[in-house]
């Protein structure tokens, strides 16, 4: 975990308001697990003041590069979308606990479920799983055809279903509809996306091995400010911090 100025290798728009940003620097060597994230200061100005958490979508140790994929949403990500090759970005990372790929067993089946900008960290995850000999099936949900990204890349790693809410691309409906329709089975379920999606998956498979990557508004990103806590199932007063203990949790650890 360190703070470093990374250099923009490229920044391109790959879908409606979706950007793929490549950052280079020494820090990249520290990135190991899929699901970890970086905390970015998008401007030297006092506004926006806080850093922005963005997941790492791909790690390339050889080139000392990480890929981030983000949606241009508010002020911070709009400034990030303006970064150009050669610009420097103040990065804190790697942060958080990702997916523990070493705990998964070769030959087993992983069902990887992503929704919207929850999809990016699943790409590095699937790469690491499949290279370990785990069979990955992907279900990616988006609002509409214009929002879809990385479909080809996921297809190269395993069977991939795309669902859009409005049916303009792939299967019409939610990711859960796809799982039902295609009767997808798995040993591990790994998901990242909007809370309602995560909640639905947790409810659907109470007794299975399910890992969820969570999102929460953050202050520090390093576990010091208690902004990003999430209740656990145990008691009213127990909690986990998304930034430090997560963002990836076993489904039974968190109350959604």
């Amino acid at each position: 975990m360190r703070k470093e100025l990374l250099t923009v290798g490229s920044n391109e728009c790959i879908a409606d308001n979706i950007y793929k940003l490549i950052l280079e620097g020494d820090m990249v060597q520290d990135f190991k697990k899929p699901g970890q994230f970086v905390h970015l200061k998008v401007s030297e100005s006092m506004t926006p003041l806080l850093r922005r958490p963005i997941s790492v979508a791909e790690i390339n140790h050889d080139q000392s590069e990480v890929t981030l994929i983000f949606r241009k949403e508010g002020e911070g990500t709009s400034l990030l979308a303006e970064k150009k090759r050669g610009d420097q970005v103040d990065v804190l990372g790697p942060l958080g606990n990702g997916f523990d790929v070493e705990n998964f067993t070769e030959g087993k089946k992983a069902l990887i479920i992503g929704g919207g900008v929850g999809v990016p960290p699943l790409y590095e995850l699937s790469k690491q799983l499949t290279s370990k000999g785990i069979l990955a099936t992907h279900v990616l949900g988006f609002q509409s055809a214009k929002d879809v990204f990385f479909e080809r890349q996921f297809k190269e790693l395993g069977e991939t279903f795309v669902a859009t809410v409005d049916g303009t691309h792939g299967i019409q409906g939610f990711v859960t509809d796809v799982i039902d329709k295609e009767q997808l089975d798995f040993d591990y379920l790994l998901a990242c996306g909007p809370t309602p999606m995560l909640r639905a998956l947790k409810m659907k498979y109470p007794d299975r091995e399910v890992y969820l990557s969570m999102e929460e508004r953050m202050g520090c990103g390093i576990g010091a400010c208690f902004a990003c806590v999430c209740h656990t199932d145990q008691s009213e007063k127990t909690y986990v911090k998304v930034c430090l203990d997560g963002p990836v949790f076993k489904a039974e650890e968190v109350l959604l």
Partner: protein, 311 residues
Amino acid sequence: MLNVQLPGLDLKNPIIPASGCFGFGQEFAKFYDLNLLGSIMIKATTKDARYGNPTPRVAETGAGMLNAIGLQNPGLKHVMENELPWLEQYDLPIIANVAGSQLEDYVEVAEEISTAKNVKALELNISCPNVKTGGIAFGTIPETAAELTKAVKNVSSVPVYVKLSPNVSSITEMAKAIEDAGADGLTLINTLVGMRLNLKNGKPILANGTGGLSGPAVKPVAVRMVYEVSQAVKIPVIGMGGVQSAEDVLEFLLAGASAVAVGTANFVNPFVCPEIIDELPNVLKKYGYSSARDCIGRSWKLEAESANHRT
């Protein structure tokens, strides 16, 4: 050049991470050696563990942020048995931030936490705007604040600092009432009460509705209050609110602070405290000061001098 002395606190430099913005130090220890700091104001501790408010708990504003953490903390017992002993590995006087819902809670926590080996001062958080009972009421009524100060002074084994809320009509009235009640020092400011709405659903962004405003946006309010309070009382003042740089620290010292706490800036740059400590001697030199002590209250001491001159 940087050392300052305050009741109970012999600080090698005047820079202290502010309560709630530094946890109990463990996270920042991964970034740098905590021994570099003057002290640490640890996260508010209450009698029992508290979960705090629902999320979202932070929102952004122009040059600032709102938080409504709601005093989440692991409770007195855990702090006494884990957090404080862990901090003993550092040669650091700790300032324990104490909170509660009623007078008895404060007294109980203060009595016990003040006996910890490395706790050299208490900071009574009577001004947290994010808890519904207690907290805020103590912070806006001088009589109640004075009563609480007295009660805690009676039981504390270390000097007692009281943290003032900026959400009052007269900060000096408050400060004087607390000084008269026997406080050893004052810390200010806590956060200003604010709100942001989510335009998409028309509701407040924070689950709690309102939150506490901190960061550079509040600095001018903080400087003004430190300037006023440090002249109105004889006990020392620890200033805070929007500090991001060694220049900001100097501004607070000149305004009348004897030491300076850094809050929100730790989130923006986890190295901000050691960087400020490193830079402060140069900044002092640049503006012609020979020590941090030399600067304390210069803004109004200058005024007084030139006023004396005139007569």
